[in-house]
Symmetry: D2
Subunit: 308 residues, 4 copies
């Protein structure tokens, strides 16, 4: 940017550096996706092509931004998590948020034809908004992720039951809504099973648990299989009955140490590992400790299988 008498206007740019040593969550949401899902005739209550496209776009983001340690997606929303020690773009908020949103959008539009062959895009086009939220300690970061996964569960159970009533029970939307008013989880499970023969536990994991993306340094993913075959979700609360209480303390010790500086060689080596790592896309419980204990590099931020 060259010098001129007008350059004084640069002084109006404000600093937006995010607090150091703090988790950065960037949550993005589809804009007007209710309309968009009608326009392109998404299947109800879940459209697998649409979910897989979201995941593929998120994978693109994870690959282009190696500093991301985790992403969690549900419906038309995705949360991208930069490690608390991340110094990308000097932690400038606008830069971090817009880069994630733009990269996601870019992949979403680019990959659309691979998932919706017969439904070409036309304006107005899909777009996403986003925001950054800070979380000071590991425990609260995990509670954020749990919040989104509980939300996924609650919404999906509702939607599954609602659309069963509409699609198989021949109700109209208003009646289905009335039918569900005041019901708790067990009621919905009961409706699904007794009226439509649907065992909610057998619904696809991607619908019930959403999608979690991370760098899979431990190529032997054998360990995670126990999760993908889970058919119960013991930790998922019957949300309506849950009192607004604070999280119980976890069994897992969460240290929350201040950042230990790394040598340049070490940092470069880790960055290389991050870029090379396969991105895992799984539909597993991320509320309980197991997920985090088996992938210690996510919370530690240290690239590599050991990662503690």
């Amino acid at each position: 940017m060259a010098n001129s008498k007008y350059e004084y206007v640069r002084a109006f740019e404000e600093s937006d550096v995010l607090l150091p040593s703090t988790w950065i969550v960037i949550r993005i949401d589809g804009r007007g996706f209710h309309k968009l899902s009608a326009k392109y005739e998404f299947e109800k209550p879940n459209d697998k092509r649409a979910l897989n496209l979201m995941n593929a776009a998120a994978e693109g983001v994870m690959k282009e931004l190696p500093d991301l340690v985790l992403a969690y997606g549900v419906s038309d929303e995705f949360s991208f998590i930069f490690h608390k020690d991340c110094t990308l773009f000097e932690r400038r908020e606008s830069k971090l948020v817009t880069t994630v949103v733009s990269t996601f959008t870019s992949y979403y539009v680019y990959l659309w034809p691979s998932y919706f062959e017969n439904k070409p895009l036309f304006p107005p086009l899909p777009s996403f908004d986003g925001r950054a939220v800070l979380y000071p300690i590991d425990r609260i970061l995990r509670d954020y992720v749990s919040w989104r996964q509980v939300d996924c569960h609650i919404n999906n159970l509702y939607n599954t039951t609602f659309w069963a009533l509409v699609q198989k029970g021949n109700m109209n939307g208003t009646d289905a809504e009335k039918e569900l008013m005041g019901t708790v989880s067990s009621d919905k499970n009961e409706i699904l099973f007794s009226r439509f023969g649907i065992n909610y536990n057998n619904e696809p994991e991607i619908f019930k648990k959403g999608s979690v993306l991370y760098r899979d340094y431990a190529n032997t993913i054998a360990t995670s299989s126990s999760f993908t075959t889970l058919t119960t979700e013991p930790n998922l609360p019957k949300a309506e009955e849950t009192p607004a209480s604070a999280p119980e303390s976890s069994e897992m010790p969460i240290p929350d140490e201040p950042p230990a500086p790394k040598s340049k060689t070490q940092a470069a080596k880790e960055q290389k590992l991050r870029k090379r790592a396969r991105i895992a896309i799984e539909h597993v419980d991320i509320i309980r400790d197991e997920f985090w204990m088996q992938r210690p590099w996510i919370l530690s931020g240290k690239a590599g299988k050991g990662g503690r």
Copy 2:
């Protein structure tokens, strides 16, 4: 978002409402476009397809966001301007910035094949970052726009001369850079003319002035022709010689009134006008008063030809 014991994490979301009655400029920049222009073999110093694609994407943004009153683009950068009275998204910064960036990206990727038929995109994909800057009064907003257009002029004159030395003068980059070190505008004009027979004034306006987009309520664009045939740019300073002084006061009276509330009917009517208006894309001087006096609706924010 359903209720659960984890929902307390929402309290970590911070308010980011922008100061009312203040101009909002969202400037976006291509990320790594130096590399990208090499990857897809953009022409030097300017690639018309690339510029037209930028403009087409900006047009998409203007159409999807009727609250935008102006956009100005140069190279891989675009500034989008929301009127100071704009209340879109309650003026939440993240929402405004990410929506502009995402919509722009969406159109850029979607329209790419129309401009680069034989050069299909492949990852890593184009993306943009962006930020919001506030300007309290009309005069300073205009100085912002002037800053960008002066920048366009200075960079383009430099690039035009540099690439003439390289492409027609058979210099390598390092030598061309040396040749230009310390030169002022007249020197570069002279090099272009005496060595390569190029009259810089005859260069395409889109290269010299960048691109300005606005809602053209006055369909008869006749008036703007006087600008497009301009072959001199008297107000564009020879930047290197410009002392860092403050802007001279303009001849044009700039009132800066606080917002006058509109009736709902009036507001709805104006929004309709905005949506229906043709988006003009011009390559004209936006530093001098003429541009603004002939299109009073831009600074007033009042939709319609009168617009005062």
Copy 3:
């Protein structure tokens, strides 16, 4: 601050520079002054000693901070206004706010014995909180000041009537409150006049209009008698009846020019004028144009009698 391994904690300090070319209002409020006024037996509805102490403390602040162009006080609240071009402390918000609050507090406690000889302070001590608010143009800054003065008028009319009912009408507080519920200004004026023989217009100006402090470069206007003898306040709305409409445009042209840089000599000369100027303390209408037109240096920020 010396160097040590702990110094990394400085990186957690965030920038809080306020938008340039924008008016800075610092409004401070007495903390728990309801209790405090009981503890030291302030007279009701207005205690002249307490108001004069507030004004004297504000004068101390004006003297120690020459960059302040205006202060307006009512009850236990004071608004201090830095000119939009002010660059004191590089416009760092915390520094500006805390310096004003601390200096005010310092004078308030220091001067207390001069106004309340027989009522020595004892803990808990008086204290004030404060905040900065930005206003982008002169018109809105004036509307801010008008807001506070209208507030003063409305509250004082209410309080005067309420305490007349209690002190002279032998009502208890609850009954007086009931009596006033739903009344408009004319009703209160009527109660005061018919029941207690009080003509509200004859109440002291300091109660009705609050106190305005500024640098009085035009020593000759010292008296400003035309204002202080005002017995009507035609511009003060009967607030309860005022529709929440936008401000009418003023007769006074308000230019809102971007800052013109000054030579160092000029800046130093003006700063000297500011420090030397007598601080005027008046109880006048600051809603209408007259006040501002006769003291052009307040809005222009230029020290000296001319001040345009």
Copy 4:
């Protein structure tokens, strides 16, 4: 604040709520205390009356704001620490910062005559500025406090030696400065001992360690005696030699749990304990674990002797 057409200006007030579950440090500094210490002839290098006045003012702040868990002072600076779970004033930054600064100033001016009997204050008066800084985890909060205490040590050793050279060695300031240039701690200790017979370890603790204030729920202060008789400070680094490395991990486990909600009864009971607790003022090592382990209520935020 009453209703009027001007009230729209309230919309310009911005939210400044601080991130939840994060330590809030409010550091205040004397404004122009170099001049002030000359004006009132403070003793060099340390004036006990001035330090005791600072501590007394800080005690006043601690008493008026029971949410504060710790304060640390050195020279004309004081850091006040609100527990990370503090919700005072809904964590509004301006309110927290200005209340601390104003209350401190109030006590400072009020108590001045008790410490400087023969030196009455006169304008310009003492004032303080302040700012808030957030620290996400206990370890970093402790590093902040350590940073200040190391700073105290380094500056005091320097000042003690400098003033010995000037006051007892008959050097002028410039020569003393030169003499000390490039010296490390051991050099200064050597100068003090060999030239002036001063054993730095025997200097008063208040000079060497600064002052720490906290609520002393464990009335039996016996435990802290081991600290106050300390004559060595093994953990205080020879600062000049300290490489800018990261803090070593502490022996003390620091849990950093998210806030556990308390019943209203419990919260009220704790607030009562806070208000009643004696404020301890000590001059002890706050870098090592001992201080924190013996007063667990400081980091836990739980009022009462147990406090874990």
